[in-house]
C-alpha cells in the first residue's frame, strides 16, 4: 500500500513538472512579446520608447536567457510564487486566489447536479421496461454532449433571466447567480456520467449472476439498487478525472457567458493578452487539480474494491462480487 501510494505521488509530481515545462515552452515560442502587448494595449497611436519597453522587460525578467528564465520561474513556482500579471500588475497568486472561490462554487454545484441527473437518467433508462421512455432516456446523454455549452447558457438566460426575470443574468455573488451557470455546466458533464453509467449498467444486467439473483426471487428494483449499481459505478468513478477536465474547460465558456470572474474567464482573458505569468499559474493549478483528483480516485479504488490493488482480472472480480453479494443480501 505504501509502495502504491509513493508511486502515485511520484507520478503526480512528474505530471506537474511536465505540464509546467510544456506550457513554458509553448508560451516562450509564441511569436509576440508580452511586454509589447501590455504597453501597446495602453497606447493608442503613441510611441513607447525602447527604454521603457526594456525596463518593463527587466522588471519581469524577460531580458534574460531562456534557461535562466525557465529556472527562475520553476524555482519560484515550486514555492508557490508565480510573479506578477503583466496586464494588471496584480500578483498571480492573488489574481488566481480571487478567482478560485467563484469557480469552486460553480464547479462543485455543477458536479453535484451532474451526478444526480446523470445517475438518475442512467438508473431510470436501464430500470424501466416501457420502451419509449427507455429510448427517450437513452437518447438524452448523446444530446447533452452534443449541444454547445454557450448555446445552452444563452437559451437559459433568455428564458429564465431576460423573460421570466427569475434569476440574475450576470455576477457571481449569491446562490441566485449560481443556478443558471451550474445547470449549464452540469449538462455536458452529467451527460458523460449518464452515458458511461448506462452502458455499464446494461452490461451488468446481461451478466449471469443477475439471472441467478432473479431466480432466487430478487425484484428488479433490488437487483438494480443492490447489485448492478455498485458494480457499474466503477467505470463512472474511473472517469472522474475526465469529468473534472470537462468542468474546468466548460468554465471558460460558462464564466464568460454568465460574467463570472472565475478561473475560466481569467484563463480566457490572460490567454488573449498573452499574460504569461498568469497563464503559467493557471496551467499549474489545473494540472494540480487534475493530478489530485486522479490520485484520490486511485487511493479510493481499494476502498470500493480491495482487489484492484492486487491486480486481479476483472472477470474474476465480478464472479467473486456476485458470490459475496448474494451471500450478504439475498
Amino acid at each position: 500500500m505504501i509502495r502504491y501510494l509513493g508511486l502515485r505521488v511520484l507520478q503526480a509530481i512528474a505530471v506537474l513538472w511536465a505540464t509546467f515545462t510544456v506550457s513554458f515552452a509553448v508560451l516562450f515560442l509564441l511569436p509576440s512579446d508580452p511586454v509589447s502587448i501590455a504597453v501597446d494595449s495602453a497606447s493608442t497611436g503613441t510611441t513607447v520608447d525602447a527604454a521603457a519597453v526594456a525596463e518593463l522587460q527587466a522588471r519581469y525578467g524577460l531580458d534574460q536567457p531562456v534557461w535562466v528564465q525557465y529556472w527562475n520561474s520553476l524555482s519560484h513556482a515550486v514555492r508557490g510564487d508565480f510573479g506578477y500579471s503583466i496586464a494588471t500588475g496584480q500578483s498571480v497568486t492573488e489574481a488566481i486566489g480571487n478567482a478560485v472561490p467563484s469557480t469552486l462554487a460553480l464547479a462543485s454545484t455543477a458536479l453535484i447536479l451532474a451526478v444526480v441527473f446523470g445517475a438518475g437518467v442512467a438508473f431510470l433508462a436501464t430500470y424501466t421496461r416501457v420502451h419509449w421512455v427507455r429510448n427517450l432516456l437513452f437518447s438524452l446523454p448523446p444530446l447533452g454532449v452534443a449541444v454547445p455549452t454557450f448555446w445552452v447558457g444563452l437559451i437559459l438566460l433568455q428564458l429564465f433571466s431576460f423573460r421570466l426575470k427569475a434569476f440574475p443574468a450576470f455576477g457571481d455573488q449569491g446562490v441566485a447567480t449560481l443556478v443558471l451557470p451550474a445547470v449549464t455546466l452540469a449538462l455536458p458533464t452529467g451527460a458523460v456520467i449518464a452515458q458511461v453509467l448506462a452502458a455499464s449498467l446494461q452490461t451488468t444486467w446481461r451478466q449471469p449472476f443477475i439471472e441467478a439473483a432473479r431466480a432466487k426471487g430478487a425484484s428488479r428494483w433490488q437487483i438494480q439498487t443492490r447489485h448492478a449499481l455498485r458494480l457499474s459505478s466503477i467505470p463512472a468513478f474511473t472517469i472522474a478525472g475526465v469529468l473534472v477536465g470537462n468542468l474546468l474547460a466548460g468554465s471558460v465558456v460558462v464564466e464568460t457567458v454568465f460574467s463570472r470572474a472565475g478561473v475560466g474567464r481569467l484563463t480566457q482573458t490572460s490567454v488573449m493578452a498573452q499574460d504569461i505569468p498568469v497563464v503559467q499559474g493557471i496551467v499549474v493549478l489545473s494540472s494540480l487539480v487534475y493530478v489530485l483528483v486522479n490520485l484520490a480516485v486511485d487511493l479510493l479504488y481499494p476502498l470500493i474494491d480491495p482487489r484492484i490493488v492486487e491486480g486481479r482480472r476483472s472477470s474474476e472480480q465480478s464472479d467473486t462480487v456476485e458470490q459475496e453479494e448474494e451471500k450478504v443480501h439475498v
Binding site: S36, S43, G45, N98, P148, L154, V252, T256, A261, T269
Partner: protein, 543 residues
C-alpha cells in the same frame, strides 16, 4: 488550460452565432424610444448599473489605456483642463486659467482655490508637480505609456506659489495643453502618488473628482460613490455642484448578447459596445444607442513604403480613390458610422475634409495605367513581372474589421489590385508591427489632438511607414508642436493632413464609432472629447 488560437476562434465564433440567435429570439416588435426631452428636470440620487464589455486593467487613471478602464477611472480624477467635445476648445477645470510662453515649452497653470482630495488633503501646485514627476520618474513609459508620451521632454514643474504651477519642457510641446485634459494626467492626492504602480492599480487612491472608489474588485466589479461637497466641476459640465448619481456600479459583462438582454430586461441601465445587431432589441425596450465617432486617425491602411508594390507612390495614391467608403458604411456598419473624409477623423480639432478622399475608380485606373501597371489575364495588374498584389495585416480588435476589408478587397479587385487579408491575433499584430513585418497594416487610433499625425507618421514617431525624411511634412509636423495659437496650429494640422495623404502614408476607410446602449431611464450620459464617458451630468428618471 491554455486554449489554442483555433479553439479560441471557435468559441468566439460560437458565442457570436449564439448571441445573434438569442437576439433573434427576443427581438420583439417595435416600440417608440423615449428621448431625454420629455424626462423633465434632472433628479439627483439613485444607482446606475453599468455593464462593461471587458475588465478595467487598473484603477489608476495614469495607467489607463483601454476605453473600459478609462470609463471608470475618468470619474475619479479631475484634470487641469477640460476639452469641449463640440469645439475641441480647452476649458478651465482644476486650472482657472493658464499662460503659455512663445515657443510652447513652458506652461503656467493658475489653480482653483478650495479644492480638496477625497482623503481630505488640499489640492495645490505641489500636487501638480508630484503627479507629473511620478509619471515621468516612478511609473515611466512602461506603466503609464500615454501619460509619459504626453510628457516627452519634461524638465520639471516649478511651484511658484500654492496656486500656481509652471510646467517646463526641453523643447516645444504644444500638444501638452490638450494632454492636460486627459485622465492619464488627472491629479491624485500626495499619498496616492507616493504608492507603487501596482498599489495604485488596486483602487485605494484618492482624486478630486466627482466620484470616489467605494469598492474595486479586479475582473469583477467597481463601485463608485458620489463625492459630497464637490463644487469645482469643469466649464464643460452641464451643471454645478455635486454629481446627480449617488452610486455607479460597473460590472464586467463580456458577452454582448448578455449585456443587451440585461439592459432590455432592466438588470442594467447602460452598457458598453452595443453591437449594430443589438440596436433593435435595445430600442424595442425603449432604450437608445448613443454614438459618437472617435477623434484621432480613422481606420485605414498604413503602407510599409520599403517593400512590395506599395513602394510605388502611384500605387499608394491610386488606392485612395479606389475605395468606396460610403458603401463600406452602408453595407457593413450601419448609420452610426461615418466614412473617413481625411487622414484625421472628423471630430479631431484641426480636422479638414480633403476633396481627394472620394470614390473615383476611373481616376484610380488612370493613375495605375500612367504608372505602367497593366492589367494581366486575370484582371490583376502587373509591371515588370511583379503582380499588383499585397497582404494587409490586421486583427479583430474591432469586430467589423474583417467584413470591411473583405469589401475593400472586392473594390480594389475592380481596379486591378489584389488585396490579401492577413488576419492575426492582436498580440501577433502588435509583434509584427513592431518588427515592421508587413506590406500594409490596418488600424485606427484615438486622440483628440492633431498631434496624433506626428506620433503616428513623424520620423521620430511610430513611423510604421518606415519612411525616410520628407522635409515639407517633417517641417509642418514639428511646427504644429511649437504653435499654441489655435488658428495657426489648425492651419498647420490641415497642411499635415493633406501631406500625409499626398505621400500615400495613410489610406483612410471609415471612422470608428463608440456605441453605448442606454435604458429609457438614463438621461444625459455624455461623451467627453476623446469619445469616452463622463457621468457627471447623468441622472436617472422615472423613480
Amino acid at each position: 488550460m491554455p486554449l489554442s488560437s483555433s479553439h479560441r476562434g471557435r468559441i468566439a465564433a460560437g458565442i457570436g452565432a449564439a448571441a445573434v440567435l438569442a437576439t433573434a429570439l427576443t427581438a420583439c416588435g417595435g416600440g417608440s424610444s423615449s428621448s431625454s426631452a420629455d424626462a423633465g428636470p434632472p433628479q439627483p440620487g439613485g444607482t446606475l448599473l453599468y455593464g462593461l464589455s471587458q475588465a478595467p486593467t487598473c484603477a489608476d487613471p495614469a495607467q489607463s489605456g483601454t476605453n473600459q478602464t478609462i470609463y471608470v477611472a475618468r470619474q475619479v480624477v479631475d484634470s487641469l483642463t477640460d476639452q469641449d467635445p463640440e469645439t475641441g476648445e480647452l476649458k478651465p477645470w482644476l486650472a482657472e486659467s493658464w499662460d503659455t510662453d512663445a515657443d510652447a515649452s513652458s506652461f503656467t497653470f493658475h489653480l482653483k482655490e478650495g479644492v480638496t482630495f477625497s482623503d481630505g488633503t488640499p489640492f495645490t501646485a505641489e500636487s501638480v508637480k508630484k503627479n507629473l514627476d511620478a509619471i515621468v520618474n516612478t511609473l515611466t513609459g512602461a506603466k503609464a505609456a500615454l501619460g509619459a508620451s504626453y510628457l516627452t521632454g519634461y524638465t520639471g514643474t516649478t511651484v511658484i506659489d500654492p496656486q500656481t504651477a509652471q510646467v517646463d519642457f526641453a523643447a516645444p510641446n504644444a500638444q501638452f495643453l490638450q494632454a492636460s485634459s486627459t485622465p492619464q494626467l488627472g491629479i491624485l492626492s500626495d499619498a496616492s502618488v507616493a504608492k507603487s504602480a501596482e498599489e495604485r492599480c488596486t483602487g485605494n487612491i484618492s482624486g478630486t473628482g466627482p466620484f470616489t472608489y467605494a469598492d474595486y474588485q479586479q475582473d469583477r466589479s467597481v463601485t463608485l460613490a458620489k463625492r459630497a461637497g464637490y463644487n469645482w466641476g469643469s466649464d464643460v459640465f452641464g451643471h454645478e455642484g455635486e454629481a446627480y448619481l449617488d452610486t455607479i456600479e460597473f460590472t464586467v459583462v463580456p458577452e454582448s448578447g448578455v449585456r443587451t438582454g440585461s439592459l432590455s430586461s432592466g438588470q442594467l441601465d447602460a452598457i458598453s459596445d452595443a453591437l449594430p445587431q443589438d440596436a433593435p432589441q435595445i430600442e424595442g425596450a425603449g432604450g437608445q444607442v448613443l454614438t459618437t465617432s472617435n477623434p484621432g486617425t480613422p481606420f485605414g491602411f498604413q503602407p510599409n513604403v520599403t517593400r512590395g508594390p506599395l513602394v510605388d507612390p502611384a500605387v499608394r495614391s491610386a488606392l485612395v480613390p479606389a475605395i468606396n467608403r460610403q458603401e463600406l458604411v452602408d453595407t457593413v456598419l450601419g448609420p452610426n458610422f461615418k466614412p473617413a473624409t481625411s487622414t484625421l477623423a472628423s471630430r479631431t480639432p484641426g480636422y479638414v475634409a480633403l476633396p481627394d478622399v472620394t470614390y473615383d475608380p476611373e481616376k484610380a485606373k488612370s493613375i495605375l495605367d500612367q504608372a505602367g501597371w497593366v492589367p494581366g489575364a486575370d484582371g490583376i495588374r502587373e509591371k515588370g513581372g511583379q503582380k499588383l498584389a499585397f497582404p494587409v495585416l490586421f486583427s479583430s480588435v474591432f469586430a467589423g474589421n474583417q467584413a470591411i476589408l473583405e469589401l475593400v478587397q472586392q473594390q480594389l479587385r475592380a481596379v486591378g489590385v489584389d488585396l490579401q487579408l492577413d488576419l492575426v491575433s492582436t498580440p501577433e499584430a502588435t509583434a509584427r508591427q513592431n518588427s515592421k513585418d508587413f506590406d500594409a497594416t490596418y488600424y485606427n487610433s484615438t486622440r483628440a489632438d492633431g498631434d496624433i499625425l506626428r506620433t503616428q507618421f513623424g520620423l521620430e514617431g511610430r513611423n510604421l511607414n518606415s519612411r525616410g525624411p520628407i522635409p515639407a511634412l517633417d517641417d509642418v509636423l514639428a511646427k504644429q508642436l511649437a504653435t499654441t495659437d489655435p488658428a495657426a496650429r489648425s492651419a498647420l494640422v490641415a497642411d499635415a493632413q493633406q501631406q500625409v495623404l499626398d505621400n500615400g502614408l495613410w489610406i483612410p476607410t471609415v471612422e470608428l464609432s463608440q456605441a453605448i446602449g442606454a435604458g429609457p431611464n438614463v438621461q444625459d450620459l455624455k461623451f467627453e472629447a476623446s469619445a469616452r464617458l463622463q457621468f457627471f451630468d447623468t441622472w436617472i428618471s422615472g423613480r
